[in-house]
Amino acid sequence: MYEVTEKPLSLEGVVSAITRRTCGAVATFVGIVREFSRGRQISYLEYEAYPEMAIAKMRQIEGEIREKWEIEQIAIHHRVGRLGIGEASVVIAVAAAHRQPALEACTYAIERLKQIVPIWKKEVSPDGSYWVGMGS
């Protein structure tokens, strides 16, 4: 359920792909390109991944989550390439029988993704461009 793709992300698609008859709760997180970042106006972003390692690290995050919470399914889709304002850069969805594990695992997944998944972005603004790394 991991993807690093140049195509636009579909929240609805991710959610329906992971929902089973045993799931009572789906928590999602969508990261979106904002107009401003660190006080600068953004023209667009360029996302770049180390895709094979990114997928391996997403699997690692799933393993960590399954040690902590009872969840059914998790999906993490990250977009790469050029993204305009308002476009989704990442979609995380966690399906579980109950709401608490779904919500907690979703929060954990985005935090860990920022920490360990090798994906960078270049913020292109009228006054220049800046690489922003993992952890941001």
Binding site: R34, E48, Y50, M53, P118, G135
Partner: protein
């Protein structure tokens, strides 16, 4: 022996390629590999302290011995900034 070096983001832009194949002496470490690369790309050396490395997609110390066919990822610095 030969290793593949994958470069990303700012490191990729400095080197001008996302992937390069490099011939190394047997027994070379990640650190040896990088010294060679830094020699050719001084701008990359400037961020050397902040770079981390992955060997076959797992983070690795500079002291790690490389094997023929290894994939070495050059992972540029974390910005420390947070926007979302």
């Amino acid at each position: 022996m030969q290793v593949r070096v994958k470069l990303f983001a700012a490191a990729r832009e400095i080197v001008g390629h996302g992937e390069v194949a490099i011939e190394l002496k047997e027994g070379s470490t990640v650190g040896d590999l990088m010294e060679g690369i830094f020699g050719r790309y001084p701008a990359l050396k400037e961020m050397a302290g902040a770079l981390v490395f992955a060997v076959n997609r797992e983070l690795a110390e500079r002291s790690m011995d490389l094997q023929d066919g290894d994939e070495v990822g050059v992972i540029p610095p974390v910005s420390g900034g947070t926007d979302v």
